[in-house]
C-alpha cells in the first residue's frame, strides 16, 4: 500500500499566538484507508489540514503529499480535495452548481465529467432541490453539502475533510459515511476530522489523536477504541 501523506516532526505557530498550534507531529496516511483526526477544539486538527493542503507553511518539519514535498512543489494540489470547516466559504452570490463548476474549471475537469459527478453527488446527498439556487439562502447543512461537492468535484486521490458532518442531517450523515467508504474502496486516501465517535468508529481505519497540538495517539482504530473506552478517557 502506497503512502499518500508522510509527515515528519511538524511544527507550526501562528504569529498571533505564543504557543505552537502543531508541535512535533509525525504520521503517515495510506491510499485505500481513512484516517480520522480527533481532538478537542484548538488541538490543531484544522491547522494540520491547512498545512497538508499547502494553504499555510510549516515552521519546521516535512510534509510529503503524493510523493511531493509540499514546501517545494505545487502540482500535488491537483491530487487533493480539501473541505475546510468554515461555514461561509461558499460564494454566496453563486449557486452550489456554479461554485462546483468554478473549482472544476480551475482543476481542468471536463464538462461531461463535471455533469456526471454533480448528478451522482446531488442524488446521493439530496441536493437536487437547491443545487441551482443562489447559496445565500442555504441552511448550514445545504452549505456543507455544497462545499463537499466543490471539494471533490475533480475526483481527487487524496481527500481532506475538516469536520465534514457539521450541520448535516441524519440522512446526509449516513450518505457521508457511505461516501468516505466509497472513496476508500476506490483506493483513495481520506483524512477527516470529526467529533462524532460513531462516524469515526464506522469509517476510520486509523486515528490520529491530537492534544494541544501534540500527538497523543496514532495507530489503528480498533486499538484506539480499546485504549480509550470512554469519552472521558480522551481528556
Amino acid at each position: 500500500m502506497n503512502r499518500a501523506i508522510e509527515i515528519s516532526a511538524l511544527y507550526k505557530r501562528y504569529s498571533s499566538s505564543d504557543k505552537n498550534a502543531v508541535e512535533n507531529v509525525s504520521f503517515s496516511a495510506q491510499y485505500g484507508q481513512a484516517l480520522a483526526l480527533i481532538g478537542a477544539n484548538g488541538s490543531g486538527k484544522t491547522t494540520l489540514i491547512r498545512l497538508i493542503s499547502g494553504i499555510i507553511r510549516a515552521d519546521a518539519g516535512s510534509i510529503e503529499v503524493a510523493g511531493q514535498d509540499v514546501l517545494k512543489e505545487t502540482s500535488f494540489k491537483r491530487k487533493i480535495g480539501v473541505l475546510l470547516s468554515s461555514e461561509n466559504s461558499l460564494y454566496e452570490r453563486l449557486s452550489a452548481y456554479e461554485n462546483a463548476l468554478y473549482f472544476a474549471r480551475i482543476f481542468g475537469v471536463d464538462r461531461k465529467q463535471f455533469d456526471l459527478r454533480t448528478k451522482i453527488f446531488s442524488e446521493m446527498f439530496q441536493m437536487n432541490d437547491f443545487i441551482k439556487k443562489r447559496s445565500s439562502g442555504y441552511s448550514k447543512g445545504m452549505k456543507q453539502k455544497s462545499l463537499l461537492l466543490r471539494s471533490i468535484i475533480h475526483n481527487p486521490e487524496i481527500v481532506l475533510l475538516d469536520e465534514p458532518s457539521g450541520g448535516l442531517d441524519i440522512h446526509s450523515s449516513i450518505a457521508l459515511r457511505k461516501f468516505i467508504k466509497q472513496c476508500v474502496s476506490e483506493n483513495k486516501a481520506v483524512i477527516f476530522s470529526s467529533h462524532d465517535m460513531d462516524e469515526i468508529r464506522s469509517c476510520a481505519d486509523r486515528i490520529l489523536f491530537l492534544k494541544n497540538g501534540r500527538t497523543e495517539y496514532f495507530g489503528s482504530s480498533s486499538r484506539f477504541f480499546s485504549k480509550y473506552k470512554k469519552i472521558t478517557d480522551l481528556r
Binding site: Y14, I55, V82, S89, E98, I106
Partner: protein, 363 residues
C-alpha cells in the same frame, strides 16, 4: 496559466455583477448623478444668458484676427488700452490673445462675471469657427489670471477632478470585497488549496476590479451624453467634445481606474476585513482628492512641469489640458506611462503581500 486566470476572472465578474450595491454605485449612479449636476450648473449659467450684451473685451497685439471677428459682430464692447490693466481694474470682463494652439481667453478668476463672459465668448467663437470650417482656429483655450476662483469653470477644472475622484472611489467596493472580503469570509483559503497560483489569483482579481472601471467609463460617457440632452446650455450650442476627446476621456478613466485599483488591491490584500480595507482607504482617497484639487489650480497653457511625472496629478492634468482644448502628446504619453509604471509597482507590492502568510492571514 491563462485558462486559470480567465476562469477566476469570469467568476469574479459574475460575482461583482450580481452585487446590486456595486452596480448601483459604479454603473447606474453616474448615469443619474452627472445629468443632475449638469442641470444645476446649466440653470446657473442660463440665468445669465443676457450677459453677451454687456461683455467688455480687450485684445493683445497678437489677437488682431479674433479682434476683427468680434468687432464685426457688434455684440461686444471692445475696450482699447493695456489688457492686463483693464482686467485688473475691472474695466473689461475678459481679454483675448492668440497662442500657437489657438485663441486664449484670459479670465479674471476672482470675478464670476469674467468666468461667465468667457463661456459666452468661447461659445460664440466656437460657433463662428465651426460655421467657417476654420479647423486651425477651432481650439479655444482659457487661462485663469490672478489665482483663486478657477473652480468655477466646470468643464476645464472640475470635470477632471470629478473623474479622478470617481475613478478612485468606484473600484473600492469591488477591491475590498474580492480581497479583504474573501479573507473575512474564508473563501480565499479553498482557492489557495487549488492549483491556481497566487499570481494567477491576484492577476485575475485585479483584472476584474479594473474591468469595473471600463464599465464605469461607458456609464460615465453615457451620463455625459444624457447631460447634454437634458442641459445643453452648459456645453454651448454644440457638443464640445469630438470623438478624439471622448476616446481620451475613456482611456483616461481606464488608466486611472487601473492605477487606483492596483493601489486599492494593496490595501485590500493587507486588510483583515472589508471594513478595515475601507477604513485604510480613507488616507488614500484623501491623497487623490488633494491631488485633484491641486490640479484645479494648475494653468493649462504653461504645462504641469515636473508634476506630470507624479501619478494621478499627471493624468488629471493631461485630462484637463484635453478638455481645455490643448493636446500635448508628450504630456499625455508621459502621464499614461507613469500611471502604467506605478500600476505595475503597486501590483508587485500586492503580490508580495499576497504571498506572505503573515500578511494574508494577518490576525
Amino acid at each position: 496559466m491563462t485558462d486559470v486566470i480567465f476562469t477566476i476572472f469570469r467568476k469574479e465578474m459574475m460575482d461583482i455583477l450580481r452585487d446590486r450595491k456595486t452596480i448601483m454605485a459604479g454603473i447606474i449612479l453616474p448615469v443619474i448623478f452627472l445629468p443632475l449636476s449638469f442641470i444645476l450648473i446649466g440653470n446657473d449659467i442660463s440665468a445669465d444668458s443676457d450677459l453677451s450684451r454687456k461683455i467688455n473685451i480687450s485684445f493683445s497685439a497678437k489677437a488682431d484676427g479674433v479682434k476683427k471677428l468680434l468687432s464685426n459682430s457688434g455684440k461686444f464692447n471692445l475696450v482699447e488700452g493695456n489688457w492686463e490693466e483693464n482686467l485688473v481694474s475691472g474695466k473689461i470682463h475678459i481679454a483675448l490673445t492668440h497662442v500657437q494652439e489657438g485663441d486664449l481667453i484670459l479670465i479674471d478668476s476672482r470675478r464670476t462675471e469674467s468666468i461667465k463672459a468667457s463661456a459666452v465668448v468661447a461659445e460664440y467663437l466656437d460657433a463662428l469657427y465651426s460655421k467657417n470650417n476654420s479647423k486651425a482656429e477651432k481650439r479655444i483655450g482659457q487661462k485663469f489670471m490672478f489665482g483663486g476662483g478657477a473652480e468655477r469653470s466646470f468643464l476645464s477644472s472640475l470635470f477632471p477632478v470629478i473623474i479622478a475622484v470617481f475613478c478612485a472611489v468606484a473600484p473600492l467596493s469591488a477591491a475590498s470585497d474580492l480581497f479583504a472580503g474573501e479573507k473575512e469570509r474564508s473563501t480565499i483559503e479553498p482557492l489557495f488549496a487549488t492549483p491556481a497560483g497566487r499570481f494567477q489569483i491576484l492577476a485575475a482579481k485585479y483584472f476584474a476590479v479594473s474591468c469595473i472601471g471600463i464599465f464605469q467609463s461607458f456609464s460615465f460617457i453615457l451620463g455625459l451624453f444624457l447631460s447634454y440632452a437634458v442641459s445643453p446650455e452648459i456645453f454651448g450650442k454644440n457638443f464640445p467634445f469630438g470623438a478624439l476627446d471622448i476616446l481620451f476621456i475613456i482611456i483616461s478613466i481606464i488608466v486611472l481606474t487601473a492605477l487606483f485599483a492596483s493601489a486599492e488591491v494593496i490595501i485590500s490584500s493587507y486588510a483583515k476585513s472589508s471594513r478595515e480595507a475601507q477604513t485604510l482607504s480613507i488616507p488614500f482617497l484623501m491623497i487623490v482628492s488633494f491631488s485633484a484639487y491641486h490640479v484645479m489650480f494648475l494653468e493649462v497653457p504653461f504645462g504641469a512641469g515636473k508634476e506630470i511625472f507624479i501619478p494621478v496629478i499627471g493624468n488629471i492634468y493631461a485630462l484637463k489640458s484635453v478638455l481645455t482644448g490643448i493636446y500635448s502628446s508628450g504630456e499625455i504619453f508621459i502621464s499614461f506611462f507613469v500611471s502604467c509604471f506605478y500600476s505595475f509597482v503597486f501590483l508587485f507590492i500586492a503580490y508580495i503581500i499576497f504571498r506572505r502568510e503573515r500578511m494574508i492571514f494577518r490576525s
